[in-house]
Each structure stands twice: as C-alpha cells, then as structure tokens.
Symmetry: C2
Subunit: 164 residues, 2 copies
DNA sequence: CCCTTGACTGTTATGTTATTACGTTAGATA
DNA sequence: TATCTAACGTAATAACATAACAGTCAAGGG
C-alpha cells in the first residue's frame, strides 16, 4: 500500500515505464552531447537506479551488477555510481547512504530531495529558490559556496494522512 | 596555516575560549531549563566537540572518551552524540559522517553548514530563509516536511584566495 | 526499609558503508 | 604495431554504525 513502486504516487517524475524511458533517453542524449562515455556498467547501473524508484545503496546495486556478470567487488559499484553522480546522471542521498537516478538529466540543476520516513520514497525537486537563499547565507558568512546538499525528511503525499 | 584551530578564522562563532565557554554555559542553561540530564559522558562529549572546532567523527570522540576513563566501545560515543543531537546540543554533518557542537544551543533553530574543502572547518549559520524556501518547495510537491539537512561545500573565508 | 522500575553506562559481537592498492583489458594515438 | 590511458576487475582493509545483553544506581511505591 505504501510501496512507491506499486502506488505510482511516490513522485510525479518517476511514475512509470514511460518516464523511465524518458529519463534514460535524456541521459543518453546528455552523454552524447558532452562526449561522456556511458559504458555498459555505467549504463546498467543507471538503469538499475531508474528501475528502483527510491534510492539504492551501493551494495544493492553491486548485488544486481554481480548477478548480471559484472564485477563482484564494491569498487565496481562505487566507481559507476560516483561517475554517474559527478556527471549529473544520478544524485547521492547522504541521509540514506544511497544513490538515486536524476529525474532531469537533460539540464544542470540544483535539486532538493524529499525523503519519506514511512515508505522511503525519494522525490527530486527543483531547488533554485532554496539554492539562491543558501547562496545569500553563504555570502553573508564569507563562504565561497560550490555545491550543496539539501535533503528534507517528512511524509510524502501518499503517506501523509494515510498511515496515521 | 589553514588549520582552523590555530587561525581563529574558521568561523565567527567558534573563535576562542571565550566562545567555547559561552556555548557551554548556554548548553547547561538549556539542559536545566528543559530538565535534560547532561550526564558526565554527555557533558564531556559536548566539551570535546566544542574544543574540536571542526566536526569530529564518532571514533575520534570515542578515542578521547576512552583515554579519560569512559567506555571504550562505539556505542558509548554514538549514544552520547545521538543524545546531544536529539536534544539540540550538537549537529550531525552527514557529508563528513561527523558531529559538531551547536554554536547556539540557547534556542531552537534551523541551521545550514558550510564545509571548507581546504581546511575542513565547519561553520554553522542560521538558515531561516533557506528553510522557508525549502518549505515552499515541499508544499508545492505535496510533501509534509519535518526537518532538513542543509550542507554546502566550498571555501571558507580564510582559505578562499589564500591557498590558490 | 525493601523492592520494583527505568534511565544510564558498559561490553561483546556483528553489520554496513567505503576506500586503497594493484593487476588486467581494451580502445585511442602516433 | 608500439604505446598510452581510461576503464574494469579483484583482494584486502578501513571507517562508520547498530544489535543485544549485563551491571549500576537513583526515584518512588508498598
Ligand atoms: Zn537531478
Ligand atoms: Zn511515503
Ligand atoms: Zn545549532
Ligand atoms: Zn578553510
């Protein structure tokens, strides 16, 4: 009932196979445009993240990769995941020690993440205004900000009110 | 040269023994006011965090506690640290897997953290505006936000321009 | 006064997440 | 073809975190 992979309500951007295809093709277009090598392991890792909906731990990804004949050791997963994050195909969710596919790999963007503490769904949202406010705060503190992690915990639309 | 414990420039709020004392007495006042038991291990842990300036990992704290005759095993440090975080005496810095003393334990507050990637200093800043923007974004997404993690990486005032 | 209760501290053992180091492979370059 | 380099693979280990359980002690009711 509160499993986001079944409800389809976890987030508007990851709501079905149609969307998965869209994300993947945006990602491939981005890779081509930027001359980035989306190799088999990297591509497969990205597909796994997209299919997972919520965030996956590195060892979850590794397990799937290993089952498909890729390497069996942690660096295999961490290298692919870190590469995807560095190049804008995925995001790292620090509160969960996990990774999630970027919902909008077409363009560079500042994102915030909403993490449901009931169903563990993770929703990516544009965070232009939040980042602007944070940039102001940084300047006031004399800090040269480069990038930020913005994660919120609470209840997603599906779980709020439903569970209790 | 870029060691924040020596420069005194890492952040305006943690800039010396005077400030350490202020933070500690604010914390003790808070504990008294809220009837919270700031026991010896907890107090000592807080003092260690305050003295450290930047963020400390749980095992760094544990090492110091153990050297002073407290328990030697991870749960000793994690319990004290988690208690301090839960009750507003410290914050967890997820990007660093570390903990830092709250600079303003007198009042409840939304905070953002600026992490210097040169000297590893961590500065706590008020984040009312940032949190407001994030709350707006959450509402737009139909998400019932409870709390947030806001961490930025970049260069602190002391390191920016200095190093390179 | 004695017993129960619950918060706190401690230990052992284990689980989870992440990196270092190094050898091999395969495509690009000259 | 010889060389170079990014990518991939493995083994080993480091770093971070929790589960489960035992002993201590102060507060409160019989
Ligand atoms: Zn994204
Ligand atoms: Zn939910
Ligand atoms: Zn604080
Ligand atoms: Zn610095």
């Amino acid at each position: 009932m509160s499993d986001p992979t079944e409800s389809g309500f976890c987030c508007p951007d990851h709501s079905g196979p149609q969307s998965a295809t869209r994300i993947l093709s945006q990602a491939q277009a981005r890779a081509a445009r930027m001359r980035l090598r989306l190799t088999p392991v990297r591509l497969r890792t990205l597909e796994i993240l997209i299919a997972a909906h919520g965030a996956l731990g590195a060892y979850d990804v590794l397990e799937k990769l290993a089952a498909e004949g890729y390497g069996t050791q942690p660096p295999v997963a961490y290298r692919a995941l870190n590469w995807l994050v560095e190049h804008g195909f995925a995001h790292r969710i620090r509160r969960l020690n996990a990774f999630t596919a970027c919902a909008h790999p077409a363009d560079d963007h500042a994102a915030a993440f909403f993490i449901c503490d009931r169903c563990d769904s993770v929703t990516e949202a544009p965070a232009v205004a939040v980042t602007a406010a944070l940039t102001d705060a940084a300047q006031a503190a004399g800090f040269a900000m480069e990038r930020a992690t913005i994660e919120a915990v609470g209840q997603c639309r599906a779980c709020d009110g439903a569970g209790a």
